[in-house]
């Protein structure tokens, strides 16, 4: 991954809120990140941490109301997606940005055969004729490892197994050769042996096609095996961001450190007791003025109540380029 390359996707200060009867929910709060060409960025967080909402905000997939993208810039190929008209945005979705969702059964249309669903973006975005699109669709199915691709174009989603459906979803997302592929928990609904197949497939496709990927997951194991860089989200904010090895070897944020300890290992020492993060994730109502993790943090002090920490560099590189963390506490100061 060339360090100096222009990012394909650059997100700055994204803020998304939901208006509800109970007041505003600040689901995404000043999230900034970028994606370099060919890079795989892992996004980790629990449910409600804002990881999916962030990605859906980027390309206008959230219903408004209740959602509202209040601030920020999303630069893709020099254009700010947040300023585009709905019509222009539609051209970006599918053509420039591919999306793979968690549950392939609910994201495929049950009444059309998969051939139609793969051909739709080809005809719409690439201006292909039906015959061209059909040839390309068969190629795509073969690319994602579905045997007997030409014949399977006529099959309906229910005739595929879960893993195969997810392969179809990936084929659709890749149809127009997007610059960015956003995969939202693509293997969460699958069994581990099938998950291993899909991860293998993505690794292969990356080498062949070289697109940049955002991979959202709550599974730290999946991230460890596939990501170049990791962004940890908590309470609608980025709490830590680092190259994958640095994050696992030297986690800085108390949340990341605790999270890594709560997951039992398959091969290492077996702990007598699991480490626990006490308490519950925050509710995100009201403007965030304090650290979202303070109530569950072992190192929280007065400043954490008074001031929401901003991301600061850990390794001397500019924030976003190397290892950074949003926390008032630091392990070095505590240990030294």
């Amino acid at each position: 991954m060339p360090d100096g390359a222009e990012p394909v996707l650059d997100v700055r200060g994204l803020k998304t809120i939901f208006r509800t009867r109970g007041g505003e929910i600040h689901a995404v709060n000043s999230v900034s990140f970028h994606l370099r060409p060919g890079e795989l960025l892992g996004v980790v967080g629990e449910s409600g941490s804002g990881k999916s909402v962030t990605m859906m905000s980027l390309i206008g997939l959230l219903p408004s109301p209740p959602a509202e993208v209040r601030a920020g810039e999303v630069l893709l190929g020099g254009r700010d997606l947040l300023k585009l008209s709905p019509r222009d945005l539609q051209a970006v979705r599918g053509a420039k940005v591919g999306f793979v969702f968690q549950d392939p059964m609910t994201s495929l249309n049950p009444v059309f055969n998969v051939g139609n669903q793969i051909m739709e973006p080809l005809i719409k975005h690439m201006g292909m004729t039906k015959a061209q699109a059909e040839t390309r669709a068969a190629e795509l199915l073969a690319l994602v490892g579905i045997p007997d691709a030409k014949k399977r174009l006529k099959s309906y989603p229910h005739q595929f197994s879960g893993g195969m459906r997810q392969r179809v979803m990936i084929a659709i997302a890749l149809a127009c050769d997007p610059d960015v592929l956003i995969a939202d928990e693509p293997t969460t609904a699958l069994d581990v042996t099938i998950q291993a197949q899909i991860i293998e497939l993505i690794k292969e496709l990356r080498q062949k096609l070289g697109m940049a990927i955002v991979w959202i997951t709550h599974d730290l194991g999946v991230i460890a095996g596939i990501a170049d860089r990791v962004m940890v989200m908590y309470g609608g904010q980025v709490v830590e961001q680092a190259p994958v090895r640095a994050l696992f070897a030297n986690p800085q944020h108390p949340y990341t450190r605790a999270l890594l300890k709560t997951v039992p290992s398959l091969t290492g020492e077996r702990a007598a007791r699991l480490e626990v993060i006490e308490g519950q994730p925050p509710l995100l109502s009201g403007v965030p003025v304090a650290c979202p993790f303070r109530a569950r943090c072992a190192h929280a002090h007065d400043r954490c109540d008074a001031e929401n920490p901003v991301r600061r560099a850990v390794d001397g590189k500019p924030v976003g380029q190397g290892h950074d963390v949003a926390c008032h506490w630091s392990p070095e100061v505590a240990n030294g």
Partner: protein, 356 residues
């Protein structure tokens, strides 16, 4: 045992023999029976008093069906389930009702298994209403005691399930399962619906309760790392049958069945350096339909080391090393890896049904 149970730790509390659970398939205008989904097809194992047996496998392998069949939430197709000396499979409905307090279940989805119109106190107290004739004060006292045990604040007794988070709801489900002082609890994916940081809380709670109350668990899960943490022995299921049943450390250090090997190798580890060097066995294809399992070994369609005999003869679950049971033609007591003591008695653990 908290209440002076008859079975001492280390002796089997639950003995399952050749358990079969087939669900009929009806088709045509007359809805004739045209076949059966063999969800569980000849499963045998013991669970010792005070131990946790982990039951792992992929979706559709029949692990949840085993858990439900053990508590006779289904009428069994065949086999026996002896819990604490009584065969649950053949008990009359009156006797079964008297038996129910000793065996309970914690469900996967705490949202779906709690009645949204009942308060927490009513949910936890319902087993007491059904099975005891205690006066109201005694029931209330017991409900409070249970809430303390599972770490729920007593002040929340009159709230409704929707006011709680997922982890707290699972605590309500656990308190309800504990209400009648059971000996045996089936935990069916109790943490699958919870966030990582909450999973550890619930698992620690289950372990504490086991220590304190001498409970015996069947812990059903697809999360192999968590099963390694909580279980003493682990059974790996594939397509309605047990592929391997081994003590925890032995299984994770050196799985013997090819499916167990593939399954363990597929689990991602939260360690990038380790992930970069790991050799993965990627299984091709999908699990066959349990309505139409392959002839011979049920894993023969995906097995990376399949032999001709596997497509003809169904392997039996036999003890290949002390305490390790494997159903595979490749693994026999002689070649399991040299850990079996010479002359170790080979006994057939499982009379699996004849091939259909």
């Amino acid at each position: 045992m908290a209440d002076g149970g008859r079975i001492p730790p280390g002796q089997p509390l639950v003995q399952v023999r050749d358990l079969k659970m087939h669900f009929p398939i009806y088709a045509g205008i007359l809805r004739r029976k045209v076949g059966a989904v063999k969800a569980v097809d000849g499963v045998s194992f013991d669970i010792m008093a005070g131990e946790t047996l982990g039951l792992v496998g992929e979706s559709g392998c029949g692990k949840s069906t085993v858990g439900r069949a053990l508590l006779r939430l289904y009428e069994l197709t065949g086999g026996s389930v002896v819990i604490d000396g009584e065969d649950v499979a053949t008990l009359s409905s009156d006797a079964l009702r008297r038996k129910r307090p000793t065996m309970q279940m914690v469900f996967q989805d705490p949202q779906a298994s709690l009645n949204p119109r009942m308060t927490v106190a009513a949910i936890i107290g319902e087993p007491l209403d059904e099975h005891t004739d205690w006066p109201a004060e005694k029931k209330t006292a017991r409900v409070y005691e249970l809430m303390d045990q599972v770490g729920l604040n007593r002040r929340f007794a009159n709230r409704y399930p929707h006011e709680f988070s997922g982890g707290q709801r699972q605590r309500i489900g656990i308190a309800r399962a504990l209400a009648l002082n059971p000996k045996f609890i089936v935990c069916d994916e109790p943490i699958a619906a919870l966030d990582v940081s909450i999973q550890a809380q619930v698992v620690n709670l289950l372990e504490d309760l086991q220590d304190r109350l001498g409970l015996t668990y069947l812990f059903i899960s697809h999360d192999l790392s968590m099963v390694r943490h909580i279980a003493d022995r682990v059974a790996v299921m594939y397509l309605g049958q047990i592929a391997e049943l081994s003590p925890r450390e032995a299984l994770y250090a050196r799985p013997l069945h090819p499916y167990a090997k593939a399954l363990l190798s597929a689990v991602p580890e939260a360690d990038p350096a380790l992930e970069a060097t790991r050799q993965r066995i990627i299984l091709t294809g999908d699990v066959p339909s349990p309505a139409n399992p392959p002839k011979g070994c049920n894993f023969c369609t995906r097995c990376p080391v399949v032999m001709p005999v596997c497509r003809e003869v169904e392997p039996k679950l036999i003890e290949v090393e002390t305490g390790r049971f494997v159903a595979c033609h490749l693994v026999s007591p002689n070649n399991a890896g040299g850990h079996a003591s010479p002359g170790a008695e080979v006994r057939e653990h499982n009379q699996q049904g004849e091939n259909a």
